[in-house]
């Protein structure tokens, strides 16, 4: 197996990539504005539902049920889709999925496909693979279009162009579109996208989509969207190819009543998103008359094998965890070097890559202060901090016992394991107060220098609490 395209080749480890992003004033401002806007709105949308916590627990349980019997549900789903005239394909990895899409597109005689925004196809690098095979992929979601026209990379799972503000978007459109908008009003920009894509929708023969949910019992597929580009792709072309991660199932139709409440309020902070489409196989006389569904593994079974890590597969890609994350808010998504950035990316990407010797992927679980804001908002209650720590342990294991950090940690552990050694170290350390000026230390040698670059350290007191206790109470 080659490298998994879920991470971008050549991206440095998170701390280095973050440093560059932090210096980008425009990026910082755009992200702060967008994330703060959506945070307040999400909180309000969630407050409206008195049973929100019950819904989260149900969402968690439904997804756990699917994951614990994934083989059964996938077979059931496959049978239902097939019975209704769909064709089901299985893909072990990105290359295999891409190859299937390309083959189906060629068979339909198309040189261009229209695409609904989909994380699965972004993860497998489908657009690049199609291009290499002589097929053009046209992104139709506004934010994806902005990224595509800007020859840029996505930085958010819901709004991939979140790092761009309105005037930057106008500049991109002016460079790349025949009829570019004069104004940078969001309404005018949306109108420009409408004009730009209209002809493509009306003439497309093949569409490629992802799926938000698949219903195992009925074989129904659900796509949740806002702009109507999804409806265009799911309705007008003759051939529809849907790429769906194997974890996207729910057992039965009824279970969607949970997710159609959790998802819109968590993602765009709406009571309901403008459009949700549900279709089952092929409906004669209505919509595409050829339907192909590709079930994608690409590392998911590796994540499934990890007891502590598998909860990441509950994710419904709402992006709430990104929007509340203090790290994401400042570095943006591209610093994570993957189509899955932010807290969910920090636990999902390394699991899909499944190689802790990959320095970039192994740096992601450390891209968090463990503040817990992500867990608090996650509609399917993924304990992201817990998985982060679990993956850190895996990263440490992969690095072995001889790194300076491992040796320092071992030495410290040895000291802390014995109160006498601990007290002796405390006394020795307290001598550092002679380094202090005015009660503070402003420069320490490496690795302490990473702290003192921006922060003072309090001078250790002459007497620890322990010594005081012994002197006064002992």
């Amino acid at each position: 197996m080659g490298t998994n395209p879920v991470t971008w080749l050549g991206t440095p480890a998170f701390p280095v990539a973050a440093r560059a992003a932090l210096g980008d004033t425009q990026l910082r401002r755009n992200l702060r504005k967008a994330t703060h806007t959506i945070r307040d709105k999400r909180a309000k949308a969630v407050e409206e539902l008195p049973d929100w916590q019950q819904l989260r627990l149900a969402g968690e349980a439904v997804k756990d049920e699917v994951l614990s019997n994934l083989d059964t549900y996938l077979e059931r789903f496959e049978a239902a889709v097939t019975a209704r005239g769909g064709v089901v394909h299985w893909a072990r990895d990105a290359a295999e999925a891409n190859e299937i899409v390309l083959r189906l597109t060629r068979a339909a005689g198309a040189e261009e496909v229209v695409k609904v925004k989909s994380m699965a196809t972004a993860e497998i690098g489908l657009n690049e693979a199609l291009e290499a095979g002589g097929v053009r992929a046209v992104e139709t979601d506004l934010a994806e279009l902005i990224v595509q026209l800007g020859h840029d990379r996505p930085s958010h799972i819901l709004v991939p162009a979140i790092h761009r503000n309105r005037s930057e978007i106008r500049e991109i459109f002016q460079r790349e579109m025949a009829e570019a908008p004069a104004s940078d009003e969001p309404r005018a920009l949306a109108e420009a996208a409408r004009r730009h894509l209209r002809a493509k929708f009306l003439s497309a023969r093949v569409a490629v989509s992802g799926a938000n949910f698949g219903v195992a019992d009925t074989g129904s597929v659900v796509v949740v969207e806002s702009e109507g580009n999804g409806r265009m792709c799911l309705t007008l072309p003759e051939v529809l190819i849907t790429v769906m991660g194997i974890e996207k199932l729910v057992p039965s139709w009824r279970d969607l009543e949970v997710f159609l409440q959790l998802l819109p309020r968590s993602s765009t902070a709406e009571r309901m998103n403008p459009y949700t489409s549900v279709w089952t196989g092929v409906t004669p006389g209505d919509g595409p008359q050829q339907f192909h569904l590709i079930l994608l593994d690409n590392g998911r079974t590796d994540a499934l094998a990890d007891r502590a890590g598998r909860q990441a597969l509950r994710c419904i890609r709402c992006s709430a965890c990104l929007n509340v994350c203090p790290v994401y808010e400042r570095t943006g998504g591209q610093a994570y070097g993957s189509v899955y950035p932010g807290p969910i990316g920090a636990i999902l990407t390394p699991q899909l890559v499944n190689d802790m010797h990959d320095k970039q992927a192994a740096s992601l679980p450390y891209a968090s202060s463990l503040c817990g804001a992500c867990f608090e908002v996650c509609p399917v209650r993924i304990n992201i901090p817990e998985v982060l720590v679990h993956l850190r342990a895996k990263a440490v294991q992969a690095k072995g016992k001889r790194t300076p950090e491992a040796m320092a940690m071992a030495a410290l552990g040895w000291v802390l394991a014995d109160p006498k050694r601990y007290e002796a170290a405390q006394k020795a350390g307290s001598l550092a107060r002679y380094l202090a000026r005015g009660g503070r230390i402003s420069a320490l040698p490496w690795p302490g220098s990473k702290w003192t670059a921006a922060r003072d350290v309090p001078a250790p007191p002459a007497e620890s609490f322990r010594s005081w206790w012994r002197r006064t109470r002992g």
Partner: protein
């Protein structure tokens, strides 16, 4: 709890070593409220830094030590939300359940939930703002308890901290492994603190205070950081004085 509860003080290694005044304040406060406080000398550290950095095996014996050291107390009080969270939420996973883990309280929880007091008779005539700290807020769920305690303090001028629930960027080894991002978070936190015009920034956790305080000190802002315990221990007879 009938009679004077026998309380074990888990000072935490950071407070024991760098902020002894906080631990002394906890003793003074709890004794003033009628508790019998003991500091078992066998205690060292809860293992949080090891655990959170990925060195789980090094944290395991520390959890065992903790369970043994604090086995016989009615309650254990820790002046730290993050250590409290580590003990209550993670120690059972490392060591198996133990009474010492379930009986461990962060200071404000102990005061409000166990002792049932919000007015601890404190006096603190300064302008104060309060940072709730992530682990107290989201791991332990202490909610508004620290603020209830502060509101009852005489003489205090308590001002709300904007964006209070945002992380300060400490995150243990995160502060050095991702020093740039950590500093960016710290910068915003300091801006919010300075916007309040407070002279004292308080919190229930010296690790976050060391981080924010390290920044405030570097920039010579003149804002003092002070653990909640030290404000609550201060009285008219024995008011807080800035000494270390």
């Amino acid at each position: 709890m009938p009679g004077a509860p026998r309380v074990g003080l888990f000072a935490t290694c950071l407070t024991d070593t760098f902020f002894p005044a906080t631990a002394r304040a906890v003793v003074r406060l709890l004794e003033r409220l009628g508790c019998t406080v003991e500091f078992p000398m066998e205690q060292t550290c809860c293992g949080q830094m090891h655990y959170n950095t990925g060195y789980r095996d090094a944290a395991r014996p520390l959890a065992a030590d903790y369970a043994r050291t604090f086995a016989g107390y009615d309650a254990v009080v820790a002046p730290s939300g993050s250590c409290g969270g580590m003990i209550r939420e993670v120690h059972p996973e490392l060591h198996g359940s133990a009474p010492a883990f379930t009986h461990t309280y962060e200071l404000s929880e102990f005061l409000v939930d166990v002792l049932g007091v919000t007015d601890v008779g404190a006096y603190f005539p300064h302008r104060v703002t309060y940072h709730p700290t992530c682990h107290s807020l989201r791991m332990l769920g202490v909610g508004d308890k620290p603020l209830e305690l502060l509101r009852a303090v005489r003489g205090i001028d308590l001002v709300a901290l904007p964006e209070a629930e945002s992380c300060c960027g400490f995150g243990g080894t995160f502060a050095v492994k991702n020093a740039d991002t950590s500093t960016a978070m710290l910068g915003d936190k300091m801006r919010c603190v300075l916007d309040t015009g407070a002279e004292v920034l308080s919190a229930g956790d010296n690790s976050c205070l060391m981080h924010i305080g390290g920044g405030l000190s570097r920039l010579r802002t003149g804002v003092t950081t002070l653990h909640l315990a030290e404000i609550l221990a201060s009285t008219e007879e024995e008011p807080w004085a800035p000494t270390r």
